[in-house]
């Protein structure tokens, strides 16, 4: 098993009512697994899913990216800086 740290921002933090979560996952789980778990926790997360990008250790990745122990996974809703 491995631990991953999930960070939530802006509208997604509001939806999940949490800014940081930890998940215990089986080895070789992908980012997709995190998205599934978050969707299970809250139906409104599911609505956001098509509009989210995911970053692992500060780099954008696709949902089939394989996670490692202690990775930091950030759920990135549409950005609006500037």
């Amino acid at each position: 098993m491995m631990t991953v740290h999930v960070k939530l921002f802006a509208m997604i933090r509001d939806v999940m009512e949490n800014n940081e979560m930890q998940f215990l996952l089986e080895e070789n789980s992908s980012v997709e697994k995190i998205l599934e778990l978050l969707s299970e926790k809250n139906i409104r997360f599911e609505e956001w899913r098509p509009h989210l990008r995911i970053a692992v250790n500060c780099e954008y990745v696709s949902s089939d990216f394989l996670l490692s122990n202690n990775d930091e996974v950030a759920i990135i809703p549409p950005v609006s800086g500037g």
Partner: protein, 144 residues
């Protein structure tokens, strides 16, 4: 200089941004041009009166993405000095949200690089803006 001090070229600032200090920072004897973009806080959004804004950043990634912007523009254009500073926290109407400044020998490089930098920041840098109105607040969603 009051508040934020320009110590490195890429910053996330929790306090007021000093655009003149940044302008000085990118100045260079080899520069024939400086282009500076200053993003400010507007008092109207979708015909509603805005009271103030709040910016939230995923700081380590925002820094990294801003560093990548610098790397990228330095491969595309001849740039001398470069600076991006973005605000976080509560920002008042008229305050500066972001400053991007570029110096180069000739104006074309500075113009194009500066525009590219702000356009790329708006697409890829993990920073979020919340607008506060008299009757509520909303995270800005610029998907469409």
């Amino acid at each position: 200089m009051r508040g934020f001090q320009v110590q490195s070229m890429i910053e996330i600032a929790g306090t007021e941004i000093d655009a003149l200090a940044i302008l000085k920072y990118v100045g260079d004897d080899a520069a024939g041009a400086i282009d500076i973009f200053i993003g400010t806080t507007r008092n109207i959004s979708n015909e509603k009166k805005v009271l103030h804004l709040e910016f939230e950043a995923y700081v380590p990634m925002a820094r990294k993405k801003m560093q990548e912007i610098e790397k990228e523009i330095r491969t595309k254009w001849n740039i001398i000095k470069f600076c991006i500073v973005h605000r976080t926290g509560k920002v008042r109407i008229g305050d500066i949200n972001v400053v991007i400044a570029v110096s180069s020998a000739h104006r074309r490089d500075a113009f194009e690089a500066c525009r590219y930098a702000i356009d790329t920041l708006k697409k890829n840098v993990p920073i979020w803006k919340k607008e506060f109105f008299e009757d509520g607040e909303i995270w800005v969603d610029e998907r469409n």
